[in-house]
């Protein structure tokens, strides 16, 4: 379960201010996050993962208070409990597909890679349809295949939460549908919680609930984006 209470986050001189009095996401829920550009969708993911620290308030994931963790604790939390899927895949060109999937183990010394993880890799690669392409480089794959690799990387550490920031934003509709199916199937299979930022409202019916970020914006920007809120949220 993710529980956010009295969260306030602002940065710079842009006037951006995010204010979330109360927000709860139950474990294994699949939640869509919508809202206009600049409404704090990605910021919310970063706050939950501990990549950003709120000015005020509390974020609790499971029984851990992310907002009161130290830097290294947040890093370890992110490495072991969170899986990320990005719009532009963010795979490393100089590594093979397999090395990209196993990257979290390579850059986090406290994550141990063993037989269990090897089996998980084989299982994920098989289900994502990239089993035969583990030795290729990302540039040798299609866009859809790259996102499948990114999904495998997000799930290889068996995270409790998967944060997906517009995972189908760079894909054609058909591929987007296939990738979304894979993401939802795998998240369900691993009993993880999914928070997915999307601009594609046609995908929302696949999810359990939707959070509209416009409602959490502070007054300076909030009044401006509230006008577009109905356009963004209504399916």
């Amino acid at each position: 379960m993710i529980r956010i209470s009295n969260l306030r986050y602002s940065y710079g001189s842009s006037g951006f201010q995010l204010s979330i009095p109360r927000l709860e996401v139950t474990a294994t829920a699949k939640v869509g996050i919508v809202g206009p550009s600049g409404s704090g969708k990605s910021t919310l993911l970063n706050l939950i993962s501990g990549a950003k620290v709120p000015n005020d308030g509390e974020i609790v994931v499971g029984d851990l208070s992310v907002s009161s963790m130290s830097d290294s604790q947040r890093r370890n939390f992110r490495a072991s409990r969170i899986g990320f899927v990005f719009q532009d895949f963010e795979l490393l060109d100089y590594l093979t597909v397999e090395e990209n999937v196993l990257l979290p183990f390579g850059i986090n010394s406290h994550l141990k890679f063993g037989q269990e993880q090897r089996e998980l890799l084989e299982s994920l690669a098989g289900q994502a349809g990239i089993a035969g392409k583990l030795n290729r480089r990302p540039e040798q794959l299609s866009q859809g295949e790259r996102q499948r690799v990114a999904i495998c990387r997000a799930l290889i550490t068996a995270p409790k939460i998967v944060l997906a920031d517009e995972p189908t934003g760079s894909l054609d509709p058909q591929t987007a549908q296939e990738v979304l199916n894979l993401l939802i199937d795998q998240v369900s299979k691993h009993s993880a919680t999914l928070l997915m930022v999307t601009h594609d409202h046609s995908q929302l019916h696949r999810l359990d609930r939707t959070i509209d970020m416009a409602q959490f914006l502070g007054s300076p920007v909030g009044s401006r984006v509230t006008d577009s809120q109905s356009r963004e949220v209504s399916p």
């Binding site: 890093r75 490495a79 963010e90 060109d93 100089y94 979290p104 850059i107």
Partner: protein
């Protein structure tokens, strides 16, 4: 996945840009290093050779020209001196005298006419074949033999002094009787012959049919009868070779003097103190030392230029690194989100830089080392 492993994968994938970076850094290290090593190596070898050549007598003029000619057989042929000078010095009994004659060349290699004492003094031995036994024979230095593609039993043709001077000395075909062992000195690039063979090339000695073979009576009617002189010494025509004029008048280009003691050396140097002397005596060690001082001063200027270049290269490498980090911000961000700490990211970038710098250093050291080993011949070409 260690930081070095990730760094290696990155470098290997972007090998093109890494190679350019390594080349730039290597060159910056290589140039001053190679220059320094090359000069040091040349200095050591030059001083060694000079120290084994205590005194040299040559015609008055540039001391550097006399030293370089007698040690390395390089540069313009000096004004010839008369063999009489050897006989004059012999009378003093102060030193062993080794006359040199080096005016002719064969395919860009100096032909040096000398006496057997030269080989003993330089400790030159044969790797194959036999020593010279008659006029027209020659022994070839190890490097020259390779470049000229000759072995003992082959022949070498001396070059005419002037292609357009039909009255000048004609080329002489020499018999290669042996190849010298490699000495790592200028002697490796030289073709040695007897002094008399060099005088035959000068046209002072020649061979042609005698008027009366039995009596050995000498006549030059052969030339008037349009009979050509022998261009090669053979067993058959050896007896027909002879010299004209007084030996004292025959040309040589330098005399190496190996004095018996320091006192002998001083006394010998004293023989050249008179102002009207047409010859000079030099201590090659002093001359080469002086030459090296000049080279050292030039190197100092070069080092200043190199320092400027090194600073510019360092700034450019720093710029490349900063731009590279900027381009890789997303990659760094991804690693950070995947739980990688900033220290680890710094380790990866540091490992990349270490690999590039160490590789550049290795390339520069190897290249400079290779160049330094061939320093002597390279420096000689520059002289």
């Amino acid at each position: 996945m260690s930081a070095f492993w990730l760094a290696w994968r990155y470098i290997r994938y972007y090998r093109g840009r890494t190679a350019i970076l390594i080349a730039a850094i290597s060159l910056t290290i290589f140039l001053p290093l190679a220059t320094r090593w090359m000069i040091e190596s040349f200095r050591a070898k030059a001083m060694d050779r000079a120290s084994k050549t205590p005194l040299v007598v040559g015609t008055k003029g540039s001391r550097f020209a006399v030293a370089l000619h007698s040690l390395y057989f390089r540069g313009e042929s000096p004004t010839p001196m008369k063999y009489a000078e050897v006989e004059r010095l012999k009378a003093f009994k102060l030193a062993e005298l080794i006359p040199l004659h080096s005016r002719f060349r064969t395919r860009d290699h100096a032909i040096v006419g000398t006496i057997p004492a030269y080989f003993a003094n330089r400790q030159l031995g044969l790797s194959s074949g036999d020593p010279m036994s008659r006029y027209g024979d020659c022994v070839v230095g190890a490097s020259a033999a390779i470049r000229l593609s000759v072995k003992h039993g082959d022949s070498l043709l001396s070059e005419s002094e002037n292609l357009f001077d039909l009255s000048g000395a004609a080329p002489l075909r020499m018999r290669v009787t042996g190849i010298l062992k490699e000495s790592g000195t200028a002697d490796d690039d030289v073709v040695f012959c007897e002094l008399e063979t060099a005088w035959i090339m000068e046209g002072i000695g020649h061979g042609h049919a005698l008027k009366n073979e039995d009596s050995g009576e000498h006549s030059h009617e052969a030339s008037r009868q349009n009979l050509s002189q022998h261009q090669e010494v053979t067993d058959e025509n050896l007896r027909s070779f002879h010299f004209h004029g007084s030996k004292a008048e025959y040309p040589i280009t330098a005399i190496i003097a190996v004095p018996e003691s320091d006192r002998s050396a001083t006394l010998l140097q004293g023989k050249y103190l008179e102002a009207d002397q047409q010859y000079q005596i030099i201590r090659p060690l002093d001359v080469i030392d002086e030459l090296m001082e000049v080279v050292g001063r030039v190197r100092g200027l070069f080092d200043i230029g190199m320092l400027g270049l090194a600073i510019i290269t360092c700034l450019l490498v720093a710029l490349v690194l900063l731009l590279s980090l900027r381009l890789r911000q997303r990659e760094m961000r991804t690693m950070f989100l995947l739980g990688c700490n900033r220290g680890r990211i710094v380790q990866i970038v540091g490992a990349e830089l270490t690999i590039v710098v160490l590789t550049s250093l290795a390339v520069a050291l190897i290249a400079a080392g290779l160049l330094a080993t061939t320093a002597e011949s390279l420096m000689l070409r520059l002289l």
